[in-house]
């Protein structure tokens, strides 16, 4: 995918630098992990440093000295999730200013204007976000149709279509028919990329997969598909099989600050006392700066040292954040290689095998079923050579 600040390779994971910095890492460290596209949140940048400051400085790239790509969300999701009493109307999102109680309104036009000031390489439309688990079907339907109307307003309000890419967001809850209608309408608008929104909100994994599959089947081949808010390694590997290209999530960075390491053998809670005397690298299979031995030019960090630092010195969080981000970026790089080499099914089998120690009965049902729909049979016992 070619973007204003350089090409990026798909599929990819995008780490979330909420307020223009990735949780204690310098942009240089993020770059050294191979990241070429990261997220900033419009809601947060709109509050701090604010639009006027962004305009004066000349956008978010300049603010954080990041010469690679940035994607921004619309700000609507945080609006609804962080602000009490936010209401969605046809005009926009209404809320009471927590400071003085003044009624306020955030419209698709505001969102576009803010994202124009940020100067992100990929902008997201303001959508009407409803939890997919909501029982109110009528409301979900309304939200889907409203999102289409707001997309039109966003396209209209977008000041720099030649230098910033606006992606639409497909809504429609878990109702596959609604999703299909939405895809049909939105594809007509011919945005440079397409996001599948409203997922990753606690819905059943099987339903998540069928929504992704339903959308990707209908989407044009030559446009990137971005599934918003997804970051667990297993979800990524399955979603790539289902035809998705881009993912973002705060989980890998947030969980690092709680002392959790994302590894090829699952997620490890390094705060557990047993890791206090575990002097092995965070992930034996990982070649990130933290896990590589000193002889190999790495830092030679052990699980025990992370255990020693977690929750007490931020440097520990920085190291683990680097590892976790590297793990997910690298997982997607390996997925790309496998797809190119036509060996993605083997890649998926090895990935699940390592996490579940090749105990097929432990594999999650949703993943087994979802992968079957695209012809990958996890339960097929691989030959010995495939296990390595």
């Amino acid at each position: 995918m070619i973007l204003p600040h350089g090409p990026v390779e798909l599929p990819m994971f995008m780490p979330v630098a909420t307020q223009a910095s990735l949780k204690g890492l310098t942009p240089e460290q993020l770059e050294s992990l191979g990241c070429r596209l990261c997220l900033n949140n419009t809601y947060h940048l709109g509050l701090k440093p604010g639009q006027a400051t962004l305009d004066t400085i000349g956008g978010a790239h300049r603010l954080q000295s990041w010469n690679h790509n940035i994607l921004t969300d619309s700000g609507g999701f945080q609006m609804v999730s962080l602000l009490k009493l936010a209401k969605v109307t046809e005009e926009g999102v209404k809320f009471l200013s927590p400071h003085d109680g003044t009624p306020m309104l955030l419209t698709p036009e505001h969102s576009m204007s803010l994202q124009n000031s940020i100067g992100s390489d990929i902008m997201m439309q303001l959508d009407d976000v409803i939890a997919t688990t909501s029982p109110d079907n009528e409301r979900i339907q309304e939200a889907m149709h409203r999102s289409i109307r707001w997309l039109d307003r966003c396209i209209e309000a977008h000041k720099y279509p030649e230098k910033q890419n606006l992606f639409c967001i497909i809504q429609g809850g878990l109702d596959l028919d609604l999703r299909r209608q939405c895809v049909e309408q939105m594809v007509k608008r011919d945005t440079p990329g397409i996001a599948i929104g409203g997922l990753s909100g606690g819905e059943e994994k099987a339903k998540y997969c069928s929504v992704v599959r339903t959308c990707t089947e209908m989407l044009p081949d030559m446009k990137p598909r971005y599934v918003m808010g997804v970051g667990y390694p297993e979800d990524l590997v399955v979603s790539v099989a289902l035809g998705a290209d881009m993912f973002d999530c705060v989980w890998p960075t947030r969980t690092a600050r709680f002392g959790n390491a994302v590894t090829s053998r699952g997620t490890l809670n390094l705060r557990h006392a047993s890791y206090g005397t575990d002097f092995s690298p965070v992930d034996e299979d990982c070649d990130c700066l933290c896990c590589r031995s000193k002889e190999a030019g790495g830092l030679g960090v052990t699980k025990a040292y992370i255990h020693h630092l977690t929750g007490k010195e931020t440097a520990g969080a920085h190291i683990l954040t680097m590892h976790n981000v590297h793990y997910l970026l690298n997982l997607m790089r390996k997925a790309r290689k496998a797809i190119i080499a036509d060996t993605y099914p083997e890649f998926v089998k090895e990935f699940f095998g390592k996490i579940y120690k090749y105990k097929i009965s432990d594999y999650p049902d949703w993943a087994v079923e979802a992968l079957k729909t695209v012809g990958i049979d996890l339960q097929h016992v691989p030959s010995a050579s495939e296990c390595t």
């Binding site: 440093p49 009490k84 209401k87 009624p103």
Partner: protein
């Protein structure tokens, strides 16, 4: 071998053979693993083995920290009930904390400044504070930890009463006696252990002392397969003995002990700024060739210069880190910049300069200039004030990372300039100029620092909470720093975030 050589003093040149006397001096400390420290210089204090805010890669790449000050009390939480993980670690302390290869490690029993403990020391135990509470550190455990952990420099334990009460009359005598006994234990153990040191992994290091140039002094050459030949000149930690903060008469016997054992020592350490002033001129001639370390320097560069003038060589510098936590960027330069003469311009005395600037100040919100003009550190060459100020105000950890990198850089350059001026014979004039040119105190702290941890502060009854709570009930009034707008509706409309509306 660990050696310290005085190269030149500000008043007399050593080479001419004239007597040394207290006063500013440049020297070189060479440690047995091949590290070289040009003095005067500083050590970076650590917390749990990390220089605060800096992951090891940032420490290596973006600072020139030559040595770090590590406290054993940061690693031995559950002892003696449970063996601390560090003691079962198959390698050394520097490996455990992933210390960069060209940075040396000083091991002390306690952090400096240490938090005072409610329980006094006993004959066999030092009272310490770990992250899980106050504990006893048996002296014999410290001594064996030194053998196991293989620091480059180790501090002798001073029986400084670390309760808040002043030293009583009878207690004073004990202070010196215990300190001597504890040091004797340490020196004895290092002597008997020196054989086992050299059968260990460190025999693979080339121990030929590297010639240190300016800048980053430490240099280690790893050479495989040459272990046997180097055994006779192998590793031994450099021991720095404490000079006590008590009257010189009360520690006369102890100081004589030091003089008798001077060949086993590499340096002396002053535990309080006052004791350096009182004792440095009173040390016997035999001890003058030892390096002098000041264990806590929290006030600022003026304090450093005064102590350089007393003849202190190495500073465990806490003020740079304190400034970082406060969101303050240091910017002072030792030595007269070009085009400026003695703080005067056309005969008019210039205003005194600030030593540092509080980066929380809103006026930096759109300032794209570096933290300090002309600074070559990573933070100044790649980032700007506006970003640092944004990260501070958004409480993003990157703010403190960048400030720490910058502040370490300023301090590093300051010491390099101090060494240069002693070398060139301009010390007296430059010291005087600095004293007049810069304000005495660092700016006051205005913004919030990073979250404080229990082991960093001693609680007293009736304290307020150290940190704002991160979570609150949705119905509680919004605190100032939450993820919600902090300004009123009119302001939000003006800023383009949203517009006011009549109905809701």
């Amino acid at each position: 071998m660990n050696t310290f050589r005085v190269l030149k003093t500000a008043v007399t040149d050593v080479a001419t053979g004239s007597a040394q006397s207290p006063g500013a001096r440049i020297g070189v400390l060479q440690l047995s693993k091949g590290f070289t420290l040009n003095t005067p210089n500083y050590l970076a204090p650590t917390s749990r083995g990390a220089v605060p805010h800096l992951s090891p890669d940032n420490l290596e790449k973006h600072t020139r920290v030559v040595g770090v000050y590590v406290a054993l009390e940061d690693f031995i939480e559950k002892a003696p009930q449970r063996t601390p993980p560090l003691y079962t670690y198959p390698s050394t302390l520097r490996e455990f904390i992933s210390l960069p290869a060209d940075t040396f490690l000083l091991l002390a029993p306690r952090r400096s400044p240490a938090i005072s403990c409610p329980k006094p020391n006993s004959d066999a135990n030092l009272s310490i504070l770990t992250s899980v509470g106050f504990r006893d550190l048996p002296i014999k455990d410290y001594v064996s930890a030194v053998v196991k952990l293989q620091p480059d420099i180790v501090l002798g334990i001073a029986d400084v009463p670390n309760t808040d009460k002043p030293v009583g009359k009878n207690r004073v005598r004990k202070v010196a006696e215990r300190t001597e006994k504890w040091l004797d234990e340490l020196l004895g153990r290092i002597d008997t252990a020196s054989l086992s040191f050299n059968s260990s992994i460190f025999s693979s290091f080339d121990t030929t002392a590297a010639e240190g140039g300016e800048g980053k002094g430490g240099e280690v050459v790893v050479e495989g397969g040459e272990t046997k030949k180097q055994k006779k000149e192998g590793y031994k930690p450099a021991v720095f003995a404490a000079v006590l903060p008590v009257d010189k008469e009360k520690q006369r016997i102890y100081i004589n002990y030091l003089a008798d054992n001077v060949e086993k020592l590499a340096g002396v350490v002053f535990t309080s700024p006052e004791s350096a002033g009182e004792m440095i001129g009173e040390l016997p001639e035999e001890l003058e060739g030892l390096a002098r370390l000041q264990a806590d320097v929290s006030q600022g560069p003026h304090e450093v210069l005064e102590m350089v003038d007393l003849g202190i060589d190495i500073f465990n510098l806490s003020f740079a880190g304190l400034a970082t936590d406060a969101g303050i960027a240091l910017h002072f330069t030792f030595g007269t910049p070009e085009g400026e003469k003695d703080g005067e311009e056309g005969g008019v005395l210039l205003d005194q300069l600030d030593l540092a600037t509080d980066m929380w100040d809103e006026k930096f919100a759109t300032d794209l200039g570096p933290l300090e003009d002309g600074c070559m550190c990573y933070a100044c060459t790649k980032h700007h004030k506006a970003f640092v100020r944004h990260c501070l105000s958004a409480k993003e950890m990157t703010a403190w990372v960048l400030l720490q990198i910058h502040n370490m850089w300023v301090v590093e350059k300051f010491f390099a300039d101090v060494r240069k001026s002693i070398e060139l014979g301009t010390w007296e004039a430059e010291k005087e100029r600095f004293r007049r040119r810069y304000k005495r105190d660092l700016p006051d702290r205005t913004g919030l620092g990073p979250r404080l941890r229990g082991y960093q502060y001693k609680s007293a009854g009736g304290d307020k909470k150290l940190n704002e709570s991160a979570y609150r009930s949705l119905d509680a009034p919004a605190p100032e720093e939450a993820d919600v707008p902090e300004v009123d509706g009119a302001e939000l409309q003006k800023s383009g975030f949203a517009q006011t509306t009549t109905e809701y």
